[in-house]
C-alpha cells in the first residue's frame, strides 16, 4: 500500500457510530502512513488493512466498517474515492462492470444471448438427458390416471368391431421399428367427443379415436399415424416437454415474478409452442424411418396430413403443430 501520498488530502467529514449505541459522533477521517485516524467527537485510529469499505455506487452512502462493528459513513463520495484510490483500494470486477454503462450494455447483450442459447440448445439437451435417465416405471406413473380421467370426461367406448381393432393392432405389431429396442406400448381405441385424434401417453398407451380411423384413407395411413405416435413415445417427448415447460416457467417466474404474476405466465406459454412444433417434426421423422423400413410408401403418411389439413377451418394464429402443408412437403421431400 502506498503510504506516502496521503498527507495531501484534507480530512473528510464523516458520521461515526460505535456499534453499541445509536449515538451519532461527528468526526473527520484522515489517512497517514497506512493508518486511518478519526478526530472530533471521538478519537480512534485503525490500520487500513483491518477496515472494510463497502462497494462503490453513485447514489448510496459508502461505509467504512471497523473490526468491532463500529462504522463510519462518508457523504462526500468524490473526495472519498480519491482517498481510496491513493491508498491503493481497488473495486472488484463485478463492481466495475456494474458502474460502467459499457459494462451494463455488454451484460445486457450477453444475458439475452445466454437466455436464447439455453432455451434453444441447453434446455432441450438437458430435458432429453433427464427424460432418458428417468426409469421407465416412474415415467409410466406420470401418465397413469390421464387415460382414466379422459375416459371419464371426453371418451366413450369404441364402436369399432373388436376384430377390426385386433387386426390393426396385429398389423402394427408386425412392422419392424427403427432402432434396436422398442418400448412396450398398448394401442387403445376410443370414441371421442372431440373428433379425430391420436396421441401417446407416457404410460405407453397410444390412443386412437374412431373418428381418426374413419378419416384415414387406408390402413397404411393408420400405420403412419401409429408410427408417428410411437415416435413420441420412443423419444420421450411428453416427459421432455414437462421438464422443459417447468424449467421455462420457473425461469420466467424468477425473471418477472417480482413485477407481476400475470406477466410471468405469458412467456412460458409462447415459448412452449416452439418446442411442441420441434417435437412433431421429430415424430414425423420417426414415422418416415419406420414406414421406409417396412417398405410402405411415404405417400400414405402424407395422406394423413392431407386428410387432417382438410379439417382445419382457417389457420389458427399461434399453432402448436406445424402447418399440414409444411409437413406434407417435408414427407414428400423425404420420399425422393
Amino acid at each position: 500500500m502506498n503510504a506516502n501520498t496521503q498527507e495531501s488530502h484534507a480530512p473528510l467529514a464523516g458520521r461515526y457510530f460505535d456499534g453499541h449505541s445509536s449515538r451519532l459522533y461527528h468526526v473527520t477521517l484522515s489517512v497517514r502512513d497506512g493508518v486511518a485516524m478519526l478526530a472530533g467527537d471521538i478519537e480512534r485510529s485503525c490500520p487500513l488493512g483491518e477496515l472494510h469499505v463497502s462497494e462503490r455506487s453513485s447514489h448510496a452512502v459508502r461505509k467504512v466498517s471497523f473490526p468491532d462493528g463500529a462504522y463510519l459513513e462518508i457523504a462526500d463520495q468524490a473526495a472519498f474515492n480519491n482517498v481510496l484510490h491513493d491508498t491503493g483500494h481497488r473495486d472488484g470486477w463485478v463492481v466495475r462492470l456494474q458502474q460502467s454503462w459499457r459494462g451494463a450494455l455488454l451484460a445486457t447483450v450477453a444475458t439475452v444471448l445466454a437466455l436464447w442459447l439455453s432455451y434453444q440448445y441447453l434446455l432441450p439437451l438437458v430435458a432429453k438427458g433427464l427424460a432418458y435417465a428417468i426409469p421407465q416405471s416412474v415415467e409410466r406413473q406420470l401418465g397413469q390416471g390421464v387415460l382414466d380421467f379422459l375416459d371419464g370426461h371426453v371418451f366413450e367406448a369404441s364402436k369399432l368391431a373388436g376384430t377390426r381393432q385386433q387386426a390393426l393392432r396385429n398389423q402394427f405389431a408386425r412392422l419392424a421399428t427403427p432402432g434396436d429396442s422398442t418400448l412396450e406400448h398398448r394401442i387403445v381405441f376410443r370414441k371421442s367427443k372431440i373428433g379425430p385424434n391420436a396421441f401417446a401417453l407416457p404410460s405407453g398407451d397410444i390412443v386412437l379415436t374412431d373418428e381418426m380411423v374413419e378419416l384415414m384413407p387406408d390402413d397404411d395411413a393408420i400405420m403412419g399415424v401409429l408410427a408417428h405416435e410411437l415416435g413420441h413415445l420412443q423419444q420421450r417427448h411428453l416427459t421432455r416437454r414437462i421438464i422443459q415447460t417447468s424449467a421455462v416457467g420457473a425461469g420466467a417466474a424468477l425473471l418477472f415474478g417480482d413485477v407481476s404474476t400475470v406477466v410471468a405466465t405469458v412467456p412460458p406459454l409462447l415459448l412452449d409452442l416452439k418446442y411442441s412444433r420441434d417435437v412433431e417434426r421429430d415424430a414425423d421423422d420417426y414415422a418416415i424411418a419406420m414406414l421406409r423400413q417396412n417398405g410402405i410408401a411415404l405417400e400414405h403418411l402424407a395422406q394423413v396430413f392431407v386428410a387432417l389439413g382438410k379439417l382445419d377451418q382457417g389457420t389458427p394464429y399461434l399453432s402448436s403443430h406445424p402447418a399440414s402443408t409444411e409437413r406434407i412437403a417435408r414427407i414428400r421431400a423425404a420420399q425422393r
Binding site: R15, F17, D18, G19, H20, S21, S22, R23, L24, S54, E55, S57, S58, H59, A60, V61, R62, K63, G69, A70, Y71, E73, V94, L97, Q98, Q99, S100, W101, G103, A104, A107, T108, A110, T111, A114, L115, S118, V138, Q141, L142, Q144, I242, S246, L254, L255, F256, G257, D258, V259, S260, V262, V263
Partner: protein
Amino acid sequence: MDFDTNNTMPKREAITFSATGSEYFRIWIVNLLLSIVTLGIYSAWAKVRRNRYFYSSTHLAGSSFEYHGNAVAILKGRIAAVVLIGGYNIALRVSPIVGLLMFVLLAAILPWLVWKSLQFKLYNTSYRGIRFGFGGSAKEAYKYFLWLPILNTFTLGLMTPFLHQRLKRFQHTQSRFGTSQFSFDATVGSFYKTYLLFFALLLGGLLVLIFVVFGSVFASFAAHANDATKVGSLMFAIGALYLWAFTVLPLFLTMIQNLIWNHTRLQQHQFQSQLTWGRTTFIMLTNLLGVVVTLGLFAPFAHVRWLKYRLEATSMLVHGSLDEFVAATGQQVSATGEGMADLLDFDLSM
C-alpha cells in the same frame, strides 16, 4: 440532552430513498447475467449486492441502513427451497399419495423456515450500527403460519382479516431494534373494516361492469353481429375487468399498508405511512406497462420506482432523540453471535 421526551413536540423524520433506476439497472443486469451463467448459484450473492445497495440508499434522519446478509446462508436456504418445491411438484406427478405425504412434510417445516427467514432478515439489518432482531418462539410461528391458516380454511376465509391482524401483530411486536421492542396496536376491527370496504368496492365495480360492459357483449351476441364485433366486445369486456382489478388491488395495498404502519411504534417513536390510492395505482399500472413493452428490461426501474414511493411515504415521528438506542447484549461479542449461526434465508426472490 433532553430526557423529558413527553413534553417535547415530536420531530418528523421522513425516510428518503436515493437509489435510481439507472444505477439499479446496471447492478441488476450484471447480477442476472452472472446468475444465469452460474445456473442460479450466484443469485445468492446477487441478493446480497442488491440488498446492500437498497439498504444503504435508504436514509432516516441522515443515517442509512445496512444489510449484513451472508451469501452462503442465503444459498443454503435457496437450495432447501428448490429441493422442497421441486420435490413436491415431482411427488405430486408421480402419485397423489406421495404428493400428499410431501405436502404434509412441507406444512410441517414451512412455518419453521418462515420464522428463521424473518430472524435472518431482521438480524442482518442495521441502522446506526445497531442490529434489528426478531424474537418469538417456534411454537408461535406454528400457531400463526400453520394452525390459524388451517382453521381459516374451515371458516371459508371469514377469519382472514383476524388472521392478518394476528400475523402482523406477531411480526411487529416480536421485532426489536437493539434492545428496544416494536409495538403494534391496530385492532382486529380495523382490519375487518378495511377488508369490508375493499370487497364492497370490488363488488360494486364488478356489478357496474357486468351491467354496462357485459350487457353490450350480450347485445352483440343476441343481435348476431359478425365474429369480429363479438370478439372485439368480449376482448373489451375482459380488458375492463383486468383494468378494474388493477385499480382496486392498489387500493387494498394502500389501505392495509397505511393501517399497519400507522399503528406501529418503536418505543415512543411513532411510524406514519401516507400512501395514496391514485399514486399507487398510477405507479403499478405504468410499471406493468413498462415491463411488458420493454420485454422485462424496465423491471429494475419499476422496482426502484415502487420502492421509492413506498419508502418515502413512510416517516417517523421522533419523540426526543434517536441517539439513545442500545445494542442488544451478546451481539457485541461477535458479529455472528451464538445461535445465529444456523440461520438461513428462505426467501426466493431475486
